[in-house]
């Protein structure tokens, strides 16, 4: 791979943002993005799991047999998810309650599978760390963007801080499920508009999904 260290790190944030460009990991991105604080918490937890799994998979890339790599990834990712879950339960209980079921569901986040399959199993440890940090930051920033819009208009606050006027004139729908879909659709449309010349996924389809391998769709039998 010819790409230098800096581009590995920044690629995940802008050019290959996992949520806004690759359109992966929609479930957590939409579900926990009602409050900016939860979005940051979810982003950091996912980054931690991504970092852990990328490092270990990259270290073991010559040991894990090709045919059984998917079950190996599943176990590794799930183990790091359990660690993150226990740490958050112990040190940040309100966040634990706010994230609820989406905390254990980090284990099936397709962004992590995609990075493991597409990057960590064929690159060295340092590059995998940079890749994990970049993708994790991209995920966190995308979540923060969605959550900020939804929190500011939906409940008139930002990071729990009350905003003048907006707090008395909040638009409920932004904090509800349809608001999540609408805000995300608009952000994607903006990304489409800006990056017209770049290649952006225009169709959400399993065959074009980079995580399809992890889903077992193209797994060797």
């Amino acid at each position: 791979m010819k790409t230098d260290k800096k581009s590995i790190l920044t690629r995940g944030i802008i050019k290959e943002n996992p949520v806004l460009v690759l359109v992966l990991g929609l479930c957590p991105a939409l579900a926990v993005s009602t409050q900016a604080e939860n979005a940051i918490g979810m982003g950091l937890a996912t980054t931690f799991v991504l970092l852990g799994s990328n490092v270990v998979i990259s270290l073991l890339r010559n040991i894990i047999p090709g045919r059984t790599r998917i079950p190996c990834y599943i176990v590794l990712i799930a183990s790091f998810t359990v660690l993150a879950k226990m740490a958050i339960e112990a040190y940040a209980y309100p966040l634990y309650q706010a994230l609820g079921i989406f905390l254990p569901l980090i284990a099936v986040n397709c962004i992590i599978f995609a990075r493991a399959e597409m990057f960590a199993n064929r690159n060295n440890v340092l590059d995998s760390v940079l890749d994990a940090l970049g993708s994790g930051a991209g995920f966190t920033l995308a979540l923060l963007a969605i959550a900020s819009i939804r929190e500011i208009f939906g409940s008139g606050t930002w990071f729990g801080l009350e905003l003048p006027w907006l707090a008395d004139n909040n638009i409920m729908i932004f904090s509800l499920a349809p608001g999540g879909f609408i805000v995300f659709a608009c952000l994607l449309a903006i990304v489409n508009k800006i990056s017209k010349d770049r290649k952006v996924r225009t169709e959400h389809d399993c065959t074009s999904c980079p995580a399809a391998v992890a889903c077992g769709k193209r797994n060797e039998r």
Partner: protein, 198 residues
């Protein structure tokens, strides 16, 4: 057996707390496989089937194996592995004994391993402290809710395909907007539970 409790769990999973449209669980297959009716019915049935199987297997594992030995922190790892291997098993069994069913569901079964809705239904059954029967009913309801949402959304998308949105909204954004409107429609079911047995 309290029949009313079961009906409430069922209605709640299908309509009020619909997995896709209210809780954002399983959004990826919902957007990805809803292009034509045949594949969305196949996917919906596969989800329903796997959810029911997964719930029936994971509940005894949690209660008799993990809780009994103080291993409940292993829940996430064990459930994912159980679901993954169960999906493989179901695939083999269907292929051998029910080839007709396998022909229609086979393609979608491997996708279940990383489907967050399946894992979510098994975990939330435990978190809610359901009994075995209640867990099965809630899994069936979640699957049915997914199936219904899938089929309705396929109809919506076939209409959207004929529309002409602004250039930037073409593709995924307009699909998400239609999902938002469908989700809004499901808010109409609010209050169904409270008034079910008045």
């Amino acid at each position: 057996m309290d029949f009313r409790a079961l009906v409430i769990i069922m209605m709640s999973a299908v309509l009020v707390n619909n997995y896709v449209l209210r809780q954002f669980l399983g959004v990826c297959p919902f957007l990805g496989v809803s292009k034509d009716l045949k594949s969305s019915v196949g996917m919906g049935l596969a989800v329903m089937f796997v959810m029911l199987m997964a719930a029936s297997v994971t509940w005894p594992i949690q209660v008799f194996l993990l809780d009994a030995n103080g291993l409940d922190f292993m829940q996430t790892v064990v459930f994912i592995l159980v679901i993954a291997s169960m999906v493989q098993l179901v695939e083999v069994v269907l292929k051998r004994f029910l080839p007709a069913l396998f022909a229609s569901l086979g393609v979608y079964l491997p996708l279940m391993t990383t489907n967050c809705a399946v894992l979510a239904v098994t975990i939330s059954n435990i978190n809610n402290g359901y009994t075995y029967i209640e867990a099965l009913v809630s899994a069936l309801g979640a699957g049915l809710g997914f199936f219904i949402a899938m089929v309705i959304f396929t109809g919506v998308r076939s209409q959207v395909a004929a529309a002409d949105p602004p250039e930037a909204f073409k593709g995924i954004p307009i699909t998400l907007i239609s999902a938002a409107i469908l989700s809004l429609a499901f808010f109409g079911f609010d209050g169904v539970i409270e008034n079910l047995f008045r």
